[in-house]
């Protein structure tokens, strides 16, 4: 009898001690899971994302005095809403496959017990990984996958901060209409696109949006990617001579188009390159001198000195040893701070409270790294204030030229080229 009592007391003491320890632990660290391509074809992107997460956690845990003046979460000492709990990033490798992405998500939820997930870069992996999170009821934020159907699945735990193809199309539409109002000719528009899923879908979204918005796409030139010669396409353009040309291409074709347009001495008044190969550093570095004034899009522009974006960019350069934030890493870092902000406001790591806090997210542009109009989710989990900046190539660097409120440089038209 005595023995049993002693055992019970011991067990009780152990339980209490364990409970305290667990409680104290919860206050000290908040685990956030991230599942990114650290190996495989997109490993380079994944590793830049990893550095963005590490930098974000470091800002919240250890602070940055300069940034703290304009960015409340940068005061250091962890999350104020959770009595200074520190953030611990648990970053797993999705290996570039939907299967591995789902498995790692499961591991982070069941073994690492993460409070929320940020995942996965590739749309196809986001599909499978978010289904796991939905099943377990863990908040899941996607910062950069643009496939339209991701927010059409009726998920309750899925949130997406990035703009999607339709947002890009809207941005181009408003941009071109503004040019038209300013007296520029935008009557004939040609879309030149590579003919896999990427080029086909983006081109049809753009032409639908343009038709609805009152601009007409008069010419579409689909082509097979990575060929050794693009002269016939450029000659077709030269003959029809459209006012505006929009390219949707990968790097190799982007370089060839730039070279061939110069060789054949033809350029439209407005040349838009929808991100893709035209934003590849290999392109801007080597073709920049012959594509001055090329228009593209990016959610990131360094912004005015002293802004959140500019300061984050400087910190990121320090972290990576020279590479600044770009279109992808800025969206990743933005995703991280949206999650951190929600957990902070929830004051808890309980999934339902974090989910409710995410739903109530309302971030203003001056608090953002990415160039969105804000962050605010609709019922489907899509950020309705996601938008993109229109950028222009200036001395081999993209600078923001539209919308005016966030432009760092004046728009220069017509397209100069070489």
């Amino acid at each position: 009898m005595l023995k049993t009592t002693r055992q019970a007391v011991l067990a009780g003491a152990a339980l209490i001690a364990f409970g305290f320890a667990a409680d104290a632990g919860a206050q000290q660290t908040v685990k956030i899971g991230a599942v990114y391509p650290l190996s495989g074809n997109s490993a380079s992107t994944g590793n830049y994302a990893k550095m963005a997460f590490e930098m974000g956690a470091d800002i919240i845990n250890n602070g940055d005095p300069e940034l703290a003046k304009i960015f409340p979460l940068a005061k250091g000492g962890g999350l104020p809403g959770l009595k200074g709990a520190k953030i611990q990033m648990v970053i797993a490798d999705n290996q570039g496959t939907p299967q591995a992405g789902a498995n790692q998500t499961l591991r982070l939820i069941t073994e690492e017990k993460v409070a929320a997930l940020i995942c996965c870069y590739q749309s196809a992996i986001t599909v499978t990984a978010s289904a796991v999170a939905e099943k377990y009821g863990v908040p899941f934020l996607n910062a950069e996958s643009v496939a339209a159907n991701l927010t059409e699945r009726g998920f309750k735990w899925f949130f997406r901060t990035t703009p999607v193809a339709a947002d890009f199309a809207t941005a181009y539409l408003s941009f071109l209409k503004e040019q038209k109002a300013a007296g520029k000719k935008v009557d004939s528009i040609a879309i030149v696109h590579e003919n896999t899923e990427y080029g086909n879908s983006v081109s049809s979204v753009i032409s639908d949006a343009f038709t609805k918005g009152g601009l007409s796409v008069s010419m579409k030139v689909p082509y097979g990617a990575n060929g050794p010669d693009v002269q016939p396409q450029v000659l077709q353009l030269k003959e029809k001579n459209p006012d505006v040309v929009i390219f949707i291409s990968y790097t190799q074709d982007a370089i060839l188009y730039a070279k061939t347009m110069k060789e054949l001495n033809w350029k439209p008044a407005i040349l838009i390159a929808d991100d893709g190969g035209f934003n590849d550093p290999a392109f801007t570095k080597q073709m920049g001198p012959v594509t001055e004034g090329l228009i593209s899009r990016s959610v990131f522009a360094q912004g005015k000195p002293g802004s959140v974006a500019a300061m984050m960019d400087a910190l990121y350069k320090k972290k990576t040893g020279g590479d600044g934030l770009d279109d992808v890493s800025a969206r990743v870092l933005q995703g991280f701070f949206v999650v951190a902000d929600a957990i902070n406001r929830a004051g808890s790591v309980e999934p339902a409270k974090v989910q409710a806090a995410l739903k109530a997210t309302d971030l203003k542009p001056d608090q953002l790294i990415a160039g969105y109009d804000g962050v605010k989710f609709d019922d489907k989990g899509q950020n309705i204030l996601a938008s993109t900046l229109v950028t222009q190539l200036k001395s081999s660097n993209y600078v923001a030229v539209w919308p005016k409120a966030r432009a760092t440089d004046p728009l220069v038209l017509p397209y100069k080229g070489w």
Partner: protein, 285 residues
């Protein structure tokens, strides 16, 4: 006028196709070996152009001979260490052997040079010029001219010289040739060296106008295989005619019908030709 421009563009493209296919047809015709690493030989020739430019500041006048020597050496090494041995095995061993070599070279290049695209400045050869209202791109004209020259030289060596006769003798019957005092291995190594040199030259010239990446050889190899079987296995002049034909048909169909249809038309033509002439345009039955 635009149509003439399209045809000229096609001819220039076709001459380049012929240039980088001549090495493949030589190996194929001489030894009945399909070199799946051919496209990656071209890719290494392209990188030779990049390295000569970035490290030494040299243009094509330096990189072309350098690439010829380097890729010829690579050809001889491949012959002695790989091809000579796998030729004794079944056909499948040859295919997988050179395919393995292709992967080794491709991922070796990925390791050494990285995955990023590189391209050379476009003023190394001089800018494009206008002649009779038609624009000519300097680097493509140079590649096409050298392509014609190299193809003709290979053809003359094979048909008009003693060494060429010996090489052809080995390709017809190695044992009989050996009985006549010809060393088959030496001739075959020579064939790999010549093929390598032509391929290296092709790569170094193509680097002047095409973006360069470790996977550049992949799509080029397919074009080379088509050109060679179109022209006739082992026929250097066949590769030239087929290359020019493919180039012009591609350009015209891309311009007149649409770029996504050009492959359909080229390959339909290819199948038709093989239907009536399975040995290719200029191959022997």
């Amino acid at each position: 006028m635009t149509l003439v421009q399209v045809v000229i563009g096609g001819l220039l493209l076709g001459a380049v196709y012929a240039l980088f296919s001549s090495g493949l047809t030589l190996i194929w015709g001489m030894m009945n070996v399909v070199n799946f690493a051919h496209g990656d030989f071209v890719m290494l020739g392209m990188y030779t152009g990049v390295v000569v430019w970035t490290a030494l500041g040299g243009g094509p006048w330096a990189s072309v001979p350098m690439a010829a020597i380097l890729i010829a050496t690579l050809g001889v090494i491949s012959y002695f260490f790989l091809v000579r041995h796998i030729m004794k095995g079944p056909m499948l061993a040859q295919i997988l052997g050179t395919f393995g070599l292709a992967l080794f070279l491709r991922y070796g290049a990925l390791y050494v040079f990285g995955a990023n695209f590189k391209s050379l400045p476009d003023n190394l050869v001089g800018h494009s010029f206008v002649l009779g209202g038609i624009r000519f791109e300097g680097s493509r004209v140079l590649a096409a001219a050298v392509g014609l020259g190299v193809t003709l030289a290979l053809h003359l060596i094979l048909t008009r010289t003693a060494i060429g006769s010996r090489m052809l003798a080995v390709s017809e019957d190695a044992t009989a040739a050996q009985l006549m005092g010809i060393r088959p291995q030496r001739m075959q190594a020579l064939a790999w060296a010549m093929a390598g040199a032509a391929t290296g030259i092709a790569g170094a010239l193509m680097a002047l106008f095409l973006p360069i990446s470790p996977t550049a050889g992949e799509s080029l190899a397919i074009v080379a295989f088509v050109t060679v079987s179109f022209g006739g296995f082992g026929s250097v002049t066949g590769a030239l005619v087929a290359g020019l034909l493919i180039g012009v048909v591609e350009s015209l169909s891309a311009y007149l019908i649409g770029p996504i249809y050009k492959e359909v038309i080229v390959y339909a033509l290819f199948v038709l030709v093989l239907w009536f002439r399975p040995q290719g345009l200029m191959g022997k039955t």
